[in-house]
């Protein structure tokens, strides 16, 4: 599908962009980019459908559009009407809009329902070399497949529904190279938290981040999704990983993955996507995987993170005056004292879920640490699968039993306490170790305090009742394990 392809080495991001050019913008105008896959959920779509109705416009490509219910859905009693009236209205509005316009929708109770960024990949709709958008910033998740995937606002949702395109200025490219082998107990979440702490919550602004290097190649698709998911927390438009055999193996046989001759064509094309030798990035960052340790945030933005074996920093530690003020505010909000070892910070709750870490592999990791143990007294532990299918898979493997034996609550799929639009919220002042992606003030409930961690750290924390890594846990006897 070549429009004038430049005769020079190109990055992965440039290749995908070039292959979606409908119109090349001239004189400062944006390019017009074709969108291969549009994911829709209940929060950012009602006003977009209203816009279509007002103008008498149809959805241009129903076959490139799919909707699911996730942000507002309850994770208990899903067979009963949704108690919260506004949540119910939002979901009913999506159902009405989907029916009226003919959009495929996976409603609560359906086995493909779940967090939009978990559903796309598990259906095999997310694949290399495509463009994916959704009215949700964590659309960057899908970049793990070598897709160009980014969040858009509601006006853009309407624009894509109506035209299947978006006017966009090309993004800049940043290579984030992570070489080496991570220590046991260190996972993809720690890699991305370390990246964000290094480049800052706005270090990626205007960029597509391409994660590369041996440590990234060694990751599973789930791990790559965790990393791309949180690219937005570094301010980036998107995150990407070049497709390889890991990607193809994950995709093959999924319900919407190409089959037969289409599969062969697709793979042949996908193999041309990795950045060319000598391709130039606008910026480059290097990280040594061997140095990484389990990471945790202490503040109220995802860049305010340190190694779990460290201490809560003091505002004076920051040279930048804005960061110093932000740190001061964050410490007050988080009710933390500078110098406190993070491993001495007790928690009230552990949330295992969200589009960052709620896939089957994440649940397996969590289960591997808690198996044979009991949760700390007084700590509320919630395990929320990313999709109804993940829930089913976990139950087939018996993970649900591991969770409930441990004392955790095993819930139905959705965004849940990642942002607390449903009843799953922290109470004011409660402190939570969370596998989600945002630790903003009040994100998990008004006055709630969030520490972002990996599933492994969340599990160890749930056992000890204070921030902990798996290596802090007593070894189980053969009988216990």
């Amino acid at each position: 599908m070549s429009t004038a392809i430049p005769d020079r080495p190109r990055t992965l991001a440039e290749k995908v962009w070039d292959d979606h050019l409908v119109v090349k913008g001239e004189g400062g105008e944006p390019d017009l980019i074709y969108i291969d896959l549009h994911l829709v959920h209940e929060v950012t779509s009602p006003q977009a459908f209203d816009g279509l109705r007002a103008e008498g416009r149809p959805v241009r490509r129903l076959d490139l559009t799919i909707a699911t219910e996730d942000h507002n859905t309850p994770t208990l009693d899903i067979d009963k009407p949704i108690a919260d009236l506004t949540s119910r209205t939002q979901i009913e509005t999506l159902r009405r809009n989907a029916a009226e316009f003919g959009v495929r929708l996976h409603s609560l109770g359906d086995k493909e329902q779940g967090i939009v960024h978990v559903v796309g990949p598990q259906l095999g709709l997310t694949m290399p070399g495509i463009t994916v958008v959704c009215g949700d910033s964590h659309t960057s998740t899908h970049g793990a497949f070598g897709a160009m995937a980014f969040g858009i606002g509601t006006s853009e949702v309407e624009h894509v529904l109506a035209t299947q395109t978006l006017p966009l200025k090309p993004f800049k490219t940043m290579a984030i190279t992570v070489e080496g082998t991570v220590k046991p107990g260190v996972s993809a979440k720690d890699v991305i938290l370390a990246v964000i702490a290094k480049i800052g919550t706005n270090g990626g602004q205007g960029y597509v981040l391409e994660f590369r290097g041996s440590a990234i190649r060694a990751l599973s698709m789930e791990g790559r999704m965790t990393i791309c998911n949180m690219s937005i927390e570094a301010g980036a438009r998107a995150g990407m990983v070049a497709p390889d055999d890991t990607t193809f193996a994950y995709l093959k046989g999924r319900p919407h993955a190409p089959a037969g001759a289409d599969w062969d064509d697709a793979v042949a094309y996908w193999r041309t996507l990795p950045s060319d030798e000598g391709a130039v990035y606008d910026a480059e960052v290097f990280l040594d995987a061997d140095e990484l340790e389990p990471f945790v945030t202490w503040g109220t933005n995802p860049g305010q993170g340190v190694s779990l074996s460290g201490v809560v920093p003091a505002p004076e530690d920051f040279a930048d005056p804005n960061e110093r003020v932000a740190a001061q505010r964050a410490l007050e909000y988080m009710d933390l004292v500078a110098g406190t070892p993070l491993k001495e910070v007790p928690v009230d709750a552990v949330f295992m879920g969200s589009c960052t870490n709620s896939r089957i592999e994440d649940l397996r990791q969590f289960a591997s640490i808690i198996r044979g143990r009991t949760k700390a007294d007084g700590v509320r532990v919630m395990v929320v699968p990313g999709s109804a299918r993940v829930r089913l898979e976990a139950e087939v493997e018996g993970l649900d039993k591991v969770f409930t034996d441990f004392g955790a609550e095993w819930r139905f799929a959705g965004c849940s306490m990642c942002l607390g639009m449903n009843p799953d919220q922290l109470a004011p002042g409660e402190r939570c170790a969370s596998t989600s992606n945002r630790n903003f003030e009040g994100r998990q409930g008004k006055g709630g305090r969030t520490h972002l961690v990996s599933p492994l750290v969340a599990a160890a924390t749930a056992v000890l009742g204070r921030l902990a890594s798996p290596s802090d846990l007593p070894v189980l006897t053969a009988a216990e394990a």
């Binding site: 074709y34 200025k169 919550t201």
Partner: protein, 198 residues
């Protein structure tokens, strides 16, 4: 979309950096299904503090927000822009904006001007000296004037043109209908489809 040429209004100095969209509009307000009437949601948590600057009478009816760097980070919610717009803001000036927020703002006729750090401090100082002072923002000239202070701001040419002309994006894109159809005819069979097509 209404055309934007110049605007004069009271300046609200928001002396914070990295104001994320969860602060601009907390998630509970995202449950609404309408596109207007979000004025009560703007900075809803912060507004519960009687000392919060938006609650101070001097800034009643403010329509130009001047905030610290990294304004609008976090979630993509366009509601953040609607809340600002519905409250009456027409312009936000900051040394740095989050990309998605900026894009959303441009689509709703909210001007986001990038100013220098020194100019930010100068505007804040001018407002401190005269709370409730009004600023005139000229999009054609890309300038903001408050008292004797005249500040230049940055906004990309294309967004500026669309705002000046009050042009709707979808209408603009549909002028390329033929090119879109041609592109669609070239798309490969392996690309994903959510529903079977005959």
């Amino acid at each position: 979309m209404e055309k934007f040429t110049t605007h004069t209004g009271v300046v609200l100095p928001l002396k914070r950096s990295a104001v994320d969209t969860d602060q601009i509009i907390p998630a509970v307000y995202l449950k609404r299904v309408t596109k207007t009437g979000f004025e009560d949601a703007l900075f809803a948590n912060w507004r519960q503090d009687p000392d919060f600057i938006l609650n101070q009478p001097a800034y009643a009816g403010a329509s130009v927000l001047v905030a610290g760097p990294d304004f609008g980070t976090g979630s993509s919610r366009e509601h953040a822009v609607w809340a600002l717009r519905d409250y009456g803001f027409r312009v936000v000036l900051s040394p740095k904006f989050a990309d998605i927020f900026r894009g959303n703002a441009g689509k709703q006729g909210l001007v986001t001007g990038v100013i220098g750090d020194a100019d930010l401090e100068a505007i804040w100082a001018a407002v401190d000296a005269d709370p409730g002072a009004r600023m005139t923002v000229d999009l054609q000239e890309r300038t903001a004037v408050i008292g004797d202070l005249r500040v230049a701001f940055d906004i990309d040419d294309y967004t500026r043109w669309r705002l000046l002309e009050g042009l709707d994006d979808i209408g603009l894109t549909l002028r390329n209908e033929e090119k879109i159809s041609q592109f669609e005819a070239r798309r490969e069979a392996w690309r994903p489809r959510t529903i079977p097509v005959p």
